[in-house]
Amino acid sequence: MGRDGPVRGQGRTSAGGAGAGPEPGTGDRPTPGRDHRRGAGRERGHGHSHGHGTWFLILPALIPILVLSVGPLLYGIGLAFTDAQSGRTQATRWVGLLNFSDLLQDTLFWDSFRVGLVWALGVTVPQFFLALGLALLLGQELRLRWLARALAIIPWAMPEVVVGIMWRLVYHPDAGVLNETLRSVGLGPDEGRDWLSGTATALLAVIVVGVWAGMPQTTVTLLAGLQNVPRELHEAAAMDGAGAWRRFRTVTWPAIKPVALAVSALNFIWNFNSFALVFVLTDGGPGGRTRLPMLFAYEEAFRYGQFGYAAAMGLAMVALIAVLLAVYLSRRLRGEGEEEQ
C-alpha cells in the first residue's frame, strides 16, 4: 500500500522488526540439524511432498490465492493479447501482439511512462536519503525520539485518499498554509498560486507528497537494518580515530547495504505502480503532467472500457520495470558477491 499500499509491503517491515528478530539477515538460515529432526529426509527430492497433515494446513490459504490471485494474474496476461472490451456483445478475439504494437505508437502511454519514471525516482531517491539520515539520527540517544516515532504513525496509517485530500488543503491557492507561509516571509506569490494545477509545479508538488507519505516506513525499515551493525566494530573504529563519515563508510554502510538495496528497489516499484495518491491530488492533470501509468491504465480500462489494451499496458509496465531493476540490482550486487559467499 507506500502505500497503495500503502500499505502494501508494510507487513514486511513489521515482520522484520518483530518476527525475524534483531538479525533478519541470519534469520533465514536453518540451524544445522534442525531439518533432519523435522523429517527433512522424507522430503528431500520431493519439493511438493509434505507428509501427513501439512497439506490440510496449507490448502485453506493456497486455494483462494490460486483462484483469486494467481488465476486472475494469468487471465490478465492472456487478456493482454485479446481485444476484450467492457460491455461488448461480440466474442472477444485473440489479436496477438496488436495491443503491444499499438502501445509502442501510443505517445500518451510513453508520456505516462516517463511521468511514472520521474515520479518514482523523484520520490524514491530523496525519500531514501532523508530516511537514512533520519534512521541514523533516531539511532542516537535524542530527547525527542519518542515524538518522532509517534508522529511517524500519521503518514503510515493514513488512507492515501486522506493524504491526498490533506495536501490539497495545504496546497490550496487561497485557503492553503503553503501560500500563506510563503507570503508571510515575503516570498509569496501575490496571486494565490495553485501548485497542483500549474504545469511547472504539479509534478514536483505531488512528488513532495509522495516523499512525505512513504518516509516513515522507509525509516523504520532502515532502522531495523541498522541493528545489524556490529557495535564492537563501530567502537573499534572510533578508537582507531575514524571520523563519523569514515565509520559510516566502512562499518555502517556495508552492514545495511542489503536492506538499503531491497528497500529502494521495492519503493521504486510501489511508487511506479501507485494510484490513489495522485488520483486524489491531480487526477493526472494538468494536461497529463502527473498522469502516472496506473492512472492511464485505469482510464483506458474503466472509463473507456479497453480491457485488452489496459492489460497489455500492465504487462508492459511489469516488463519495463523488471528490465530496469535487473540492470540496477545486477550492477549493485556485483561488488557484493564475494562478501556474501
Binding site: A40, L68, A152, A157, P159, L169, A311
Partner: protein
C-alpha cells in the same frame, strides 16, 4: 551558547555539543515536516466557512466550530460508508488470518522448495501493477454477479491481504523457538495439543497484530473499492471521501477536512496499538519464562 571561534571548534567538547545541536535541529525539521499537513487538516476541519474564505488563513481557528462535521454527515452518507468499510475490513481481516495462520506455520517450520516458492510469490505478487489483476477479477466477479456487491469486495480484500498476512505471521512463527515445541513433544504432548497450548498462545500477539494490520489496510483501500462498487449506498469511506472533492476540484473545504479527519481515526488508533505490541517485545518476554 558557544563562540564559534576556530580555536573553540578544535575543542572536542564544543564540537560534540555543536553536533548535538545540529542533530536536534534536523530532528525538529523532520518533526515539523511530518506534523504540519496533519495539523493543517485538523485546523481546517474546525474552521467556520467565513475563516476558510479569508485570504489570510490562520493556524488556530478564531471561532472553532463543529459545523463542518455536521455538514459532512448531511452532504454524504458517511455513517453508511463507515459501516461498509467496517464490515469489509473486519470480515476480510478475520478470514485472512484464519486462512493464513496454518500456512504461515508450515512455511516457517518447513524449509522445502514449496515454502521457498510460496515466499517468493508473496514478494513478487506485491510488485505487479493492480490493473493486471483488477481487470480479470472484475470480469470474474461480474460473471458471478459480485460486481457492485460487498461480498465481491470482501473476497478481493481477503486475497489481497493474504500475502502480507502470510509474511508477517511467518516471521512471528519463526520467533517461537522450535525447542519449545520439541520439549513439549518430549513430555508426550500430541502435535495438535502442542499447537493449541504451546505455540498458539505465543503466537496470539502476532496474530492480533496481523489481523489489525489487515483491518487497517482494507479500511484504507481505495482502488478496488473504486472499481468494484458503483452504488453510493455500498461504497466505502475512501471512495465516499472523493465525492467531497466535487467536479473540477471545487470542494467545500471544511466538510472535506472534517470527513477526512474522521476517516483517519480508526487507522491511527489501531496502528498506535500494534506499534506498541510490536515494540513491546511480548514474544521475547514470553519465551524467557
Amino acid at each position: 551558547m558557544t563562540r564559534k571561534s576556530p580555536a573553540a571548534l578544535r575543542d572536542p567538547a564544543t564540537r560534540r555539543s555543536l553536533g548535538r545541536a545540529g542533530q536536534y535541529l534536523a530532528l525538529l525539521c523532520y518533526l515539523a515536516f511530518l506534523a504540519f499537513p496533519f495539523l493543517w487538516l485538523v485546523s481546517t476541519a474546525f474552521k467556520p466557512p467565513r475563516e476558510l474564505g479569508s485570504i489570510h488563513p490562520t493556524w488556530i481557528p478564531r471561532a472553532p466550530t463543529l459545523d463542518n462535521f455536521r455538514t459532512a454527515f448531511d452532504e454524504q452518507p458517511l455513517l453508511q460508508a463507515a459501516g461498509n468499510s467496517l464490515l469489509a475490513a473486519a470480515v476480510s481481516a478475520l478470514v485472512a488470518i484464519v486462512l493464513a495462520t496454518p500456512m504461515a506455520y508450515v512455511l516457517a517450520r518447513r524449509r522445502t522448495r514449496f515454502a521457498r516458492a510460496a515466499t517468493g510469490w508473496v514478494v513478487v505478487s506485491q510488485a505487479f501493477p493492480l490493473v493486471l489483476v483488477i481487470i480479470p477479477l472484475f470480469l470474474v466477479l461480474k460473471a458471478l454477479h459480485l460486481v457492485d456487491a460487498r461480498t465481491g469486495l470482501v473476497l478481493v480484500y481477503v486475497v489481497w491481504s493474504l500475502p502480507f498476512a502470510l509474511w508477517m505471521l511467518t516471521g512471528y512463527v519463526r520467533a517461537v523457538p522450535p525447542e519449545l515445541e520439541e520439549a513439549a513433544a518430549v513430555d508426550g504432548a500430541g502435535r495438535l495439543r502442542i499447537l493449541v497450548s504451546v505455540t498458539g498462545p505465543l503466537l496470539m500477539p502476532g496474530i492480533v497484530a496481523t489481523g489489525l494490520f489487515a483491518f487497517i489496510t482494507a479500511w484504507n483501500e481505495f482502488f478496488f473499492a473504486l472499481v468494484l462498487l458503483k452504488s453510493p449506498e455500498k461504497q466505502t469511506m475512501p471512495v465516499v471521501l472523493t465525492h467531497f472533492l466535487g467536479a473540477e476540484g471545487v470542494a467545500d473545504l471544511g466538510p472535506l477536512a472534517a470527513a477526512a479527519l474522521l476517516a483517519t481515526l480508526p487507522g491511527l488508533v489501531l496502528f498506535a496499538v500494534i506499534q506498541r505490541r510490536i515494540t513491546g517485545g511480548m514474544l521475547a518476554g514470553a519465551v524467557k519464562h
